[in-house]
């Protein structure tokens, strides 16, 4: 389990129509001593909670919008085929670079308890013959709340019904207790975001230490699960080469290449508004002080191209030392970067065909896919 104090809400607010849902009832069974209130609609919940200390409020809703959507990606970059299911919004950790700071205006933890709707939607999204990669970690850490909400107990037992879907559960926690109850379905990948411990201490407040994340990875591998790892965001602090080399040494000392489905790389990137919010939340942060940033086409700041390219070459090089055919891909990078670092665009790299091939016609977010760029 995590080593910092475990998150526990002060209050639970439930949308009336979510009250009778089976998943709501299961969650409530775990919170016998916490005050519970019911409100009419989600809109009332948001209004109601704005005066409170929002992080300590859990909202349970019968969410009416789409629970599954295409990962939004960004303009001017190549994107993998990824879909996101936002069943839980919010996170007990406090990463200084987290987009949720800028994104979710109600800082509460929100659980969408209409799981049946999620599976109905999933059935509609799946295209026979194609593999769909789906993650639950866009607006949340996929597993950090699993000790509280047991979401994996709702998802894992039913994933065998969806052989064309690969569900990725991405986390910075070591909450794998529920997962270990199940023999690994072949289509579930447990993924960890990794950073050097020094950067976890500095920028990923309350998140689980690196060693514990890797120990959790070892335990899921022993149950037959596939894993994935995300070096995202890579942060160019002084001495970053050595720090990332150590993490990669530790990773491959813990998990053998054949258990790894993919590894992604992404440099620190942010909208100008996020930097402002983060600097207000973490007034002493030095995260934005290192490296040099340039505004890109999508309005996000990224490390200046030559620095970023050298950063990727270095980190990918460390990975390839252990795993020459490692399925490494970029999150939100330009065709130019793909060509400069990997010598080809993703659809031409067989090692990552399972990440990029399935939906070739919509493998791009924002720009037109030009193979020869």
């Amino acid at each position: 389990m995590m080593h910092k104090t475990l998150y526990m809400p002060d209050r639970i607010i439930i949308e009336q129509s979510a009250l009778s849902l089976p998943y709501t009832q299961k969650i409530l069974g775990k919170f016998a001593n916490i005050p519970i209130e019911t409100v009419g609609r989600i809109h009332d919940i948001k209004k109601y909670s704005s005066n409170e200390s929002p992080e300590n409020v859990v909202l349970i809703t019968n969410y009416k919008g789409s629970l599954i959507k295409k990962c939004p990606g960004s303009s001017g970059v190549l994107c993998c085929n990824y879909y996101v299911a936002n069943l839980i919004n919010g996170c007990p950790f406090a990463c200084e670079y987290c987009i949720l700071q800028d994104y979710l205006n109600c800082g509460c933890v929100m659980v969408c308890s209409n799981i049946a709707t999620f599976f109905e939607e999933l059935r509609q999204v799946v295209k026979p013959g194609y593999i769909l990669r789906l993650g639950t970690g866009e607006l949340a850490d996929s597993l950090a709340f699993d000790y509280l909400f047991d979401l994996t107990d709702e998802l894992i037992p039913r994933m065998h019904e969806f052989p064309d879907v690969i569900l990725e559960l991405k986390t910075k926690s070591d909450c794998v207790k529920n997962i270990l109850k199940y023999d690994a379905p072949g289509n579930i990948v447990i993924a960890w975001s990794l950073n050097p411990q020094e950067l976890i201490d500095r920028y990923e407040h309350n998140a689980t230490p690196l060693r514990n994340r890797l120990n959790a990875a070892i335990s899921v591998v022993s149950k037959g699960y596939k894993t994935a790892f995300h070096f995202d965001p890579i942060i160019l602090v002084p001495g970053w080469e050595k720090l990332y080399k150590q993490v990669i040494d530790e990773l491959f000392a813990s998990v053998a290449p054949e258990h790894i489905s993919w590894i992604s790389l992404g440099g620190l990137r942010f909208m100008p508004s996020l930097k402002r919010v983060s600097m207000d939340r973490f007034p002493q942060t030095d995260m934005f002080s290192y490296g040099e940033f340039v505004m890109c086409k999508d309005g996000k700041f990224r490390y200046f191209y030559p620095m970023r390219r050298d950063m990727y070459r270095t980190v990918a090089g460390y990975i390839h030392e252990y795993y020459p055919s490692a399925p490494v891909y970029f999150c939100m990078e330009s065709p130019k970067m793909w060509n400069d670092v990997f010598g080809a665009l993703p659809t031409r790299i067989s090692d990552i065909s399972h990440v990029y091939d399935p939906y070739p016609y919509d493998a791009i977010c924002g720009t037109k896919f030009q193979d020869g760029n």
Binding site: D280, P283, D286, S289, V294, Y305
Partner: protein
């Protein structure tokens, strides 16, 4: 609650600990004119404390009375606690005028740090009275304004500096306040430029492990701010460029290199080249403005010659990101 009206000697008021005073500026010329003409029409709120009286509300009136050398002062003696007194004065003040940012900061500071009310209570019960959103970040942004000295507040107040810029001062170290206040007053940056300047100084200071004060001194901020050699807008640009060069040396060097090469290209009149999103792609964007078919022809001829200029290849090589 029963309050008693009295006229008391001004000497019997305890003035050494104006704990609950949040008014700014401490005096008001209109109120002073009125008091000098008609006296104090609205009594101060006080609480008895032994033989003396503790002022709960009415500090501006008291300051003016002292300035005008009044001997006696009308008061309402009430046995109310500090929190109730503060709420009372707040409701009286806000019914007349909105509080300015200095007053809001002082009030929140008193509530949190003098009366030690829980932050949650302050957010829930007091922020709405001040017309502010009920969120912790609002408190975090406003309270640091109260760290400014009276002199600094006075300079900002009289220069009419906007609230958002005053709030941005919280991002600076306190020993740079005077410099940034002078910058606001003399160079008049917009809020985005001002925020960018503070952010750049912060980032350089953290990267180079030097204080913000040292960075300002090394870049000769004070000299530039007060210099008479150039107009304010130019000094502001010079300051921003000096910061950019220091913060982003590789980006600046690349931009300078490209700019020198563009200069060497000797572009025809009416043609402008730019390199958007530096090095993210190798595209050069061209804007052409023509006045006649002939001018287009002339430009086309010159551009054809320009395409062989080695400076153009140098720019493309640079945009590939191969810095030397």
């Amino acid at each position: 609650m029963i309050c008693t009206f009295a006229v008391i000697s001004i000497k019997s008021l305890l003035q050494e600990h104006p704990l609950l005073c949040y008014s700014f500026p401490p005096t008001d010329p209109l109120l002073e004119t009125s008091i000098s003409e008609f006296g104090i029409m609205s009594p101060l709120l006080v609480r008895k404390s032994g033989d003396a009286y503790f002022v709960l509300s009415g500090f501006r009136r008291l300051n003016i009375a002292l300035k005008l050398n009044l001997k006696e002062i009308p008061v309402l003696i009430c046995d109310m606690d500090n929190v109730t007194a503060l709420r009372c004065s707040l409701s009286e003040n806000t019914s007349r005028r909105p509080l300015n940012i200095f007053e809001k900061a002082a009030l929140l500071d008193i509530l949190l740090n003098v009366l030690t009310l829980p932050e949650q209570t302050v957010i829930r019960d007091y922020l709405p009275l001040l017309g502010l959103n009920t969120h912790r970040s609002v408190v975090d942004k406003i309270v640091p304004v109260n760290k400014l000295s009276v002199q600094q507040k006075t300079s900002l107040y009289h220069a009419g500096i906007e609230e958002d810029k005053i709030l941005s001062l919280r991002l600076a170290d306190s020993d740079t306040y005077d410099t940034f206040i002078a910058l606001l007053i003399h160079l008049k940056p917009g809020i985005n430029k001002f925020n960018q300047i503070i952010e750049l100084v912060t980032e350089i200071s953290r990267r180079d492990k030097k204080s913000m004060r040292t960075i300002c001194d090394e870049l000769k901020f004070d000299e530039l701010i007060h210099s008479e050699d150039h107009p304010a807008s130019q000094r502001l640009n010079m300051l921003r460029m000096a910061l950019q060069d220091r913060r982003n040396p590789a980006v600046s060097a690349t931009e300078n290199y490209i700019s020198a090469k563009l200069h060497a290209l000797k572009l025809p009149a009416g043609v402008r080249l730019s390199t958007p999103n530096l090095c993210e792609n190798t595209n050069i964007t061209m804007d052409i403005s023509i006045k006649s078919p002939e001018s287009l022809k002339q430009i086309a001829e010159k551009l054809a010659v320009m395409s062989d200029n080695p400076a153009l290849s140098d720019i493309f090589n640079c945009l590939k990101g191969d810095l030397s």
